[in-house]
Every structure is written in structure tokens, then in C-alpha cells.
């Protein structure tokens, strides 16, 4: 196993032992469960799903920021870094662990949503739905890496607050000012509402996924640079 894999394993176990993994999963899957429990028209259900996933994403970013900041403050990051692991690898390992959890939550939420919607006998295109979920998953990954970057700079509580504010602010900005463009970072969530219409969502969803991946890569580079200067 590579050094990044070792760090990712330690990160996931740390999140599991401190119930933060459960918190993220509950935020994602619980949001979808609410969708299931409150039946309504398919378009409203999809809107609610988008909102639920958005809230879960904000929670995920806050947990990521809190976690990495706590790792620095308690010396756990320093302990691993003095075990032949570079700071860059450390950040990549944590990003892998957090993104894996975020993506698992997104997929779980999407599966619940799919079951609910197909229960309505709605004619949903599986390919388009999967592409939208993929796009949202890349946005979740970007939010997690944003949390890492903030957590590398601030103490736990402020880091969680700032990461949540940044994510929520970006989401609000997308809703108010994206104008339906899928090229705006974070616009993937808005594509859910177009799944029941006659629009071809697939190209826009793939574009949004690409934007999410680029965003994740940029934020990961920023998190790495922040961690290089951080006190461990």
C-alpha cells in the first residue's frame, strides 16, 4: 500500500472512531431519506434532493475542515509526518479518505432518490441521472478539499465555520447568479430539476463533472500549499 493509502486508511478510521464518518453519511443519506418520507411530485422531489445534497455537502466541508485542523492541533498530523510521510502525501491521503466518504454518501443518497422516483413511475433516463450524480460527487469532492485547505490554516471551530460559510455562499451564488450555466462551479445540483423535463441533461452534467474535477484539483493544490507552511 502506498503512503497516501496508509494515510487514507488512518484518516477513515479516525473519522469512524470519532463518529464524524457517521455524521457525513447521515447528512447525505438522511437528506435522501427525508425525500423518501415526504412524497410529492417528481420535480419537487428532485429539487428537495438537490437541496438535501447541498446541505450535506456543506456539512461534509465543515467536517473536513474540523478534522484536518484537529489533526494539526493534537499532533496527530505531526506524528505521521515524522514517520517518513511528506506533508503533500499527508494531504492527498486525507483527501482520498474524505472524498471516498463523501462520494459513498452521495451514491447512497442518489440510490435512495432513484428508488423513490422510479416508484412514482417517472420515466427517468438512468444515464442522465448517473451523470448528474457524478457531477454532484465531483462537487462534493471539491467541497471536501476546500475544507482541507481551510483546516490547514485555521483552528478547528473557525475552520469548520469558514468552510461551511464558503460552501453555502458558493451554493447561494450559484442559485442566484449561474443563469442555468453548467460551467459554473457548484452548478451540478441545479441539474436535478432538469431531469424530468425534455432537456438533454447529459452533456451539461458531464461538463459540470469536468468543472468539479478541475475545481477539486485546484483546491487540492491550495490545500497542499497551505499544509506545507502549517504548524504541525
Amino acid at each position: 500500500m502506498t503512503a497516501a493509502g496508509v494515510v487514507a486508511r488512518v484518516a477513515v478510521r479516525e473519522l469512524w472512531m470519532t463518529f464524524r464518518l457517521l455524521l457525513v453519511l447521515v447528512a447525505f443519506v438522511g437528506g435522501s431519506a427525508v425525500v423518501v418520507l415526504l412524497p410529492s411530485s417528481p420535480s419537487v422531489t428532485l429539487d428537495r434532493m438537490a437541496i438535501g445534497l447541498g446541505i450535506a455537502t456543506v456539512a461534509g466541508a465543515a467536517v473536513a475542515a474540523w478534522s484536518i485542523a484537529a489533526e494539526r492541533e493534537t499532533g496527530r498530523a505531526g506524528w505521521l509526518v515524522t514517520r517518513s510521510i511528506s506533508r503533500g502525501i499527508y494531504v492527498i491521503g486525507w483527501a482520498l479518505g474524505l472524498v471516498a466518504i463523501g462520494v459513498a454518501g452521495t451514491v447512497g443518497a442518489a440510490a435512495l432518490g432513484w428508488l423513490t422516483l422510479t416508484g412514482f413511475a417517472v420515466d427517468l433516463d438512468a444515464g442522465s441521472y448517473s451523470a448528474v450524480v457524478l457531477a454532484v460527487a465531483t462537487s462534493v469532492a471539491a467541497a471536501m478539499t476546500l475544507g482541507l485547505a481551510v483546516g490547514a490554516l485555521l483552528p478547528p471551530a473557525p475552520a469548520a465555520g469558514v468552510a461551511a460559510l464558503l460552501c453555502a455562499g458558493a451554493g447561494l451564488l450559484v442559485v442566484l447568479a449561474s443563469g442555468g450555466s453548467s460551467s459554473v462551479p457548484g452548478a451540478a445540483y441545479l441539474l436535478f430539476s432538469r431531469l424530468v423535463g425534455a432537456d438533454a441533461v447529459l452533456p451539461d452534467a458531464l461538463r459540470a463533472a469536468g468543472v468539479g474535477l478541475v475545481q477539486t484539483a485546484i483546491l487540492l493544490a491550495i490545500a497542499r500549499a497551505a499544509m506545507e507552511r502549517a504548524e504541525l
Binding site: 496508509v6 472512531m17 515524522t82 517518513s84 511528506s86 504548524e231
Partner: protein, 232 residues
Amino acid sequence: MTNLVHRAILRGCSLTIPVGARVLLVSEPEGAASALVRVLAGLSRPSAGRLEIAGAGNGTGRGWGHRVAHLGPEPGIPRWMTPREAIALSARLADLPPEEARVRTDRALAWVGIRGDAADRAVRHGGPPLVQRTGLAAALIGDPEVLLLDEPLRALDTLERTRLLRLPGPRHTILIASRYPASEAGLVSHVALLQGGRTVLLAPIAALEEAGLPLSMRGIAGLAAVAAPVPS
């Protein structure tokens, strides 16, 4: 380097330690010695300057565990990890072959006095003494050339602490940052004093005896007052 309020802790600090020397590092103000050890261990980043340890520049990446080990006052071992897991993880990250890692882990556990079930129970059950014993074993598992110790093993009784810090083998170069110089008697060959962030003394421990001074902050400062200044 600077602390969070950008007050210089180390300024113009220059220190060259011969291979095999066991140096007691004390400072006025007290935090500077620990700060220097943290910089050398790669846990804090200096704002300027150059350092070289065991023939390589600062960098805690691959192979670091073979050259340098660090043990702080509170090793950041995850509290859910067992001593065996922590030491085995260190062995793996030090690139030891699995069989050798297993043998060395067992030997290290016995040497630091972790016996029976204690080796396989989470370190949180054993409190600070168990965490510190585990931290020392994990630090030494890669047989490093240089040991950076920052107020090590303070949770152990004096006799046990002295036994563990009297490391076998002539090739270890050791730097111990300590606020209690008298407690390091018999463990060190040299003493270094930082005052106002600069190195003002690096002398054999025998120089204290020759000058009729005790191994204490007052004695070391007294020696610095009469000894030749350390070239910067």
C-alpha cells in the same frame, strides 16, 4: 522561525552538532529549545535559514524515518491505535520488510516495557505513560541516525525514563530539548544554550564540572558567561 503572533523565537540561531554527540539543549526563554527541535523535525517551518540533518536537507518524506526520529512531549498517536499497530505502522512507513518489521516490533515492545495485553489495547487505555513508551518505540523502529527529543518521556518515573533514554549503540546523534537540565544527567555528552534565539554556548558537559558549575539552568548560563562565544 516565528510563532503565531510573529514574535521571533529563533533569530540568527546557528548550531552544528558532531555525529554521535548527545546534546542537551536548553534555552532562555524556555520555549526556544523546543521550537528549534520542532524546526529540525520538520513540524515547524522557519521563515529563513538552512538546516541539514544526517547529510540531507529538511524534508520529512520517504526515507526520513531511517535518518531522523522525533519524539515530542505528547506523541500524536491516534488514541484508538494499539501500541502494536502504531509501531507496525511506523515500521511499514520506514520501508522495513514485513518479517523484519514484525520481529523489530516485538523487540521494541519488550524493550519499552509494553507487555501482554497492553500491546493490543488502544493507547487511550494506558494514559500518557503508554503513549510515550509507544512513541519512543515507534520513533526508534527505523533505527534512525539522529534522534530529536523534546521533553521526552516526562510521564515515566525517573529511573525508567533514564533507562529508556540511555540508548544503546554509538552512532546515534541525540538532541534533547529540556526545561529540567538536572534530569538529563548521565544522558548527554554536550550542552547547548540558546539565549534570545541565538546559540550562545555549545560545550562538553565536562566543562561544567571543570568550572565547578551544576547541571542546571543557572550553571549552564554561568558557563556561557565565561566560555568563548559560539561563532554564528
